[in-house]
């Protein structure tokens, strides 16, 4: 018999609760219970990064994270980066401007990852950035413009700090 648990957490700044099948991954919960379809499924075994979300400041692959563990956590998905009025955050805008998006399937993961390590206004070298983004696979872009977009935001945030 299916077993359920009440999971209460903050998602994109709002407190949310739902009865969740304990067998669900966090990907399942975010997509099915909250309609947050920016959380993509590319492998469901932690290998591609398409499902990444920020949990308490760190980026995780939600496909290999049990939904029940989300209880009490603060979760951000790509939807949460977009401002209330629909304007894009600096990272999203940089991805648009630097042509870092093609098919777009990997893009939510990359933008979420970038947000997770650019929160502190730190400057990283190219090699460090490549490493920080290395848990995400993209078949369309060769990563070139993604790196360019992330660097652009990193520098502009450092300037405004």
């Amino acid at each position: 018999m299916a077993q359920y648990k009440l999971v209460t957490c903050t998602i994109n700044g709002k407190k949310r609760s739902a009865m969740v099948d304990v067998r669900a991954s966090l990907t399942d919960m975010l997509r099915n219970d909250y309609g947050l379809t920016s959380v993509k499924k590319g492998c469901e075994v932690g290998e591609c990064g398409a499902c990444a979300v920020i949990i308490d400041g760190e980026s995780f692959n939600s496909c290999i994270y049990l939904a029940i563990w989300a209880d009490g956590k603060n979760i951000t998905t790509l939807e949460g980066l977009t401002h209330e009025d629909g304007t894009l955050s600096d990272i999203q805008q940089a991805f648009v401007d630097e042509t870092a998006i093609q098919c777009g399937f990997c893009s939510p993961g990359f933008m979420i990852e970038a947000e997770s390590f650019l929160q502190n206004g730190k400057i990283y070298t190219d090699d460090e950035l490549r490493k920080l983004l290395s848990g995400h696979l993209c078949r369309c872009t060769g990563y070139e413009n993604i790196l360019r977009a992330v660097k652009k935001v990193m520098h502009s945030r450092a300037k405004t700090e």
Binding site: R31, L88, F95, V96, C103, R139, C140
Partner: protein, 760 residues
């Protein structure tokens, strides 16, 4: 000018905000889930299938086997259909098969309320096989006595074609010729689009509706109908945004099966979502091709005669079949024309998973072979690799007798010059000449030539519909799909350019719906900007003419005295704005005398196509004892004609280069010789490059306008992959003196070759 400017993608905002809906995002979450029982043997006849245990699993709705499947053979290739039987794709598949031809073939399916129930049931299905011997290697499969896959194809030869020019046998008798001979081999690789193939199907009013992540909606619709043995009009297919395709989704994958499954459960919604492991093991792959090249050269390197044999591993079913091998074979004597040429291409069935279309369509393989071989010639004859290529490559003015395609400009030299300058080729080549030590550097080059689109081998057509709104903006629809490459943005620019509209006033309908979208065959062959470009222009020209004729009613000016500029009807003689398009559209739409909805629909058949050119330069550092290569620098230079959108073009090149780097250094599907099972079918064991495996990717262009093209463009989608592996291979040769004739040049191969060469 709107064409030629780097507009942001029309879908960029939605993709950046995460609201773009892909197939799975659109599917009702209560859909039934279908899972497939894949065979665990490579070759067998299914004797019986016991589903009794599987049916008992709570949540299981239906279990179906190959004995239930419709007895209709169907093709899967994303080719335009042909009304001549001899040109039709081979029909050799059933939605579920009684004759297992590769490890993982589809023998049964479960439909259940959720994936856990479906997976549990799949495990409980018991299949009894009469196991047959199997063969994985193409040349082994051609031998007498090898296991036979398809009755009709003796010695497993799907097709054999020959190209002959001059007289090879006579020509090699010329005294003093130097013979250079080599075998070159490319691996089986997978597309690895990040969105797996997925579809869902249901019935509506006696018809079958399918939503699928496909590159080829109209073709897939036809394949589904053929698979189910129903009238083609019974199928309606929707294609939403897709998370990459690269040719894998230029095939009917599981859409026919899914469509059939819905009919077995009373038309209820059934979702068939390939898992990553299935994308690897049960979708399509790139053909592994083995080449044998013999060149006969004079002292100065001129080619007296050349012979090429290609053995292309098709795997279990025909899919795109021989066209891939044939495309590559045809390239040898065009890239480096030779008076006396003999070429043989075989496409051979084996008990491996099915090879289909993949970005480059046989050309990454062929370019690797010919450019590795060209480097071997230079090494053996001690010739400068750049000068040699300049001298022997396809000359300006070259016309292909069959396609009538032509090389109009000095593009090879222009591309080479740009690449040489960027990477500092001459200096580095000298610097790296006599290295010793454990860590050595090298630099290499490769040319690229690519024949885009499919005319005259197959039909080239594009239909386009334009519909005007009351505000003078338009919707544009074509059958050539957006698959991430940016086609919708290019169409927007083209339509705006020709119609005289601002960019913002053109809305491309991205989702194809085969009930609504005019016929077009889809995204493949690097044909979108060229072919659909003509479709868009053809429709836009006619539409403009028509609009001006309608404008005459309200302006009383002759159509030839008017033009559309920036969304206004303008009198050309004095430049006066007579009315806006919005005013015209509204007036005529609500006109009680001459009511008309301004629309245009047009089919453009295309009987030309274009060559695309380029080159790649790569610089590497090889750590010999560690058997590791580090790519230090890489540049691709392309002549794709006029760039519709330079930023998007650059991004296309990056992606292609990345795929080329993987092809060169790391990607390979490994099969167990004992069982035929794929060993590394996941994204951890299959080595797709990560961001840490790439250096900066440099993309540059030479823009020679293509005279035959609606907007001066030639194809660019596939070419960037093609020259990369050979440039890297030639750079490693330059660094170490070791010629790798097999891809990928991964540590295992380096260990073997460096040991042999006594480098440790």
């Amino acid at each position: 000018m709107i064409v030629g400017k780097s507009y942001a993608r029309v879908d960029a905002y939605d993709k950046a905000s995460g609201r773009t809906k892909y197939t799975e995002d659109l599917c009702d979450r209560h859909a039934l889930v279908a899972k497939i029982k894949h065979s665990n043997v490579a070759h067998a006849i299914v004797k019986s299938v016991d589903i009794s245990e599987a049916e008992k699993v709570p949540g299981v709705v239906k279990v179906l086997t190959c004995f239930d499947a419709p007895d209709c053979l169907f093709p899967t290739a994303g080719h335009p259909w042909s009304t001549e039987e001899s040109h039709q794709d081979i029909c050799d598949r059933n939605v579920l098969t009684k004759h297992v031809r590769y490890y993982g073939d589809d023998v049964a399916a479960v439909i259940a309320e959720d994936d856990i129930a479906a997976n549990r049931a799949i495990k409980l299905i018991k299949v009894e096989y009469e196991v047959l011997p199997f063969v994985l290697d193409a040349q082994e499969a051609m031998k007498d006595g090898a296991p036979q896959l398809h009755e009709k194809y003796k010695n497993n030869v799907l097709a054999h074609t020959q190209i002959k020019k001059g007289n090879y046998e006579e020509a090699i008798k010329e005294p003093g010729l130097i013979k250079v001979e080599g075998w070159y081999e490319t691996p089986t690789v997978q597309h690895c689009h990040i969105e797996n193939a997925i579809c869902y199907a249901w019935e509506d009013n006696g018809r079958i509706y399918v939503t699928a992540s496909t590159q080829i909606p109209h073709i897939t619709k036809r394949c589904i109908a053929q698979a189910l043995g129903v009238e083609w009009g019974k199928i309606r297919l929707f294609k939403p945004y897709i998370g990459g395709g690269f040719g894998n989704k230029q095939d009917a994958l599981y859409e026919p099966l899914c469509a059939w499954l819905t009919t077995q459960v009373g038309g209820r919604l059934v979702k068939l979502d390939c898992q990553r492991e299935e994308t690897f093991a049960n979708n399509r792959v790139r053909h592994a091709i083995r080449y044998h090249i013999i060149s006969w050269l004079r002292d100065d390197g001129t080619l007296a005669a050349r012979k090429v044999e290609c053995f292309s591993n098709q795997g279990a079913y025909a899919s795109h079949g021989h066209s891939i091998c044939a495309k590559g074979l045809g390239s040898f004597n065009q890239l480096y024309p030779c008076e006396n040429f003999e070429g043989d291409g075989w496409t051979i069935f084996t008990n491996r998973q099915v090879a289909g279309a993949m970005r480059g369509y046989g050309m990454p393989q062929a370019v690797f072979a010919v450019e590795a071989h060209t480097e071997d010639i230079c090494t053996k004859l001690n010739l400068d690799p750049i000068e040699y290529r300049r001298k022997t490559v396809m000359p300006v003015g070259y016309v292909d007798a069959f396609s009538k395609n032509e090389l109009y400009s000095d593009t090879f030299n222009q591309c080479l010059d740009k690449g040489i300058k960027y990477i500092d080729f001459e200096r580095k080549r000298k610097e790296y000449a006599n290295q010793t030590g454990d860590v050595r550097r090298g630099i290499g080059v490769s040319l690229l030539w690519y024949n885009t689109a499919v005319w005259p081998i197959a039909l080239e057509t594009s239909s386009c519909r334009m519909v005007m709104n009351q505000d003078g903006s338009i919707q544009v629809q074509v059958g050539e799909t957006e698959i991430g490459q940016g086609a919708d943005t290019a169409y927007t620019q083209m339509a705006a350019e020709t119609l005289g509209l601002p960019f913002e006033k053109v809305h491309v309908v991205s989702c194809q719906d085969t009930d609504v979208t005019p016929f077009g065959t889809g995204a493949y062959a690097s044909r979108q900007t060229y072919t659909a470009g003509m479709g868009v222009r053809g429709c836009a020209e006619a539409f403009k003419q028509h609009i001006l004729e309608v404008a005459y009613r309200y302006t009383r000016m002759q159509p030839y005295l008017m033009d559309i500029k920036d969304g206004n009807i303008v009198r050309t003689t004095d430049g006066r704005v007579l009315m806006t398009l919005g005013e015209l559209a509204t007036k005529t739409l609500y006109d009680r005398e001459h009511n008309e909805h301004l629309t245009m629909e047009k089919t453009t058949q295309i009987k030309s196509n274009a060559y695309s050119f380029g080159c790649c330069f790569a610089e590497v550092e090889v750590d010999i004892p560690m058997c590791q290569v580090k790519l230090l620098n890489i540049i691709n230079v392309h002549d794709a004609g006029i760039l519709i959108n330079p930023a998007l073009a650059e991004a296309q090149v990056h992606g292609g280069m990345s795929m080329g780097i993987g092809f060169a250094l790391s990607e390979k599907m490994l099969y167990d010789e004992k069982t035929g099972k794929l060993l590394n079918g996941n994204l951890l064991d299959y080595k797709l490059s990560t961001m840490m495996d790439h250096p900066h990717l440099e993309a540059q262009f030479v823009e020679n306008a293509e005279p035959t093209s609606a907007y001066g463009t030639k194809g660019l989608g596939e070419p960037p992959v093609c020259p990369v592996s050979s440039a890297i291979r030639n750079a490693i040769l330059n660094a170490t003196g070791v010629a790798f004739n097999e891809l990928p040049i991964r540590p295992h191969l380096m260990y073997e070759k460096f040991s042999q060469a006594g480098l440790f």
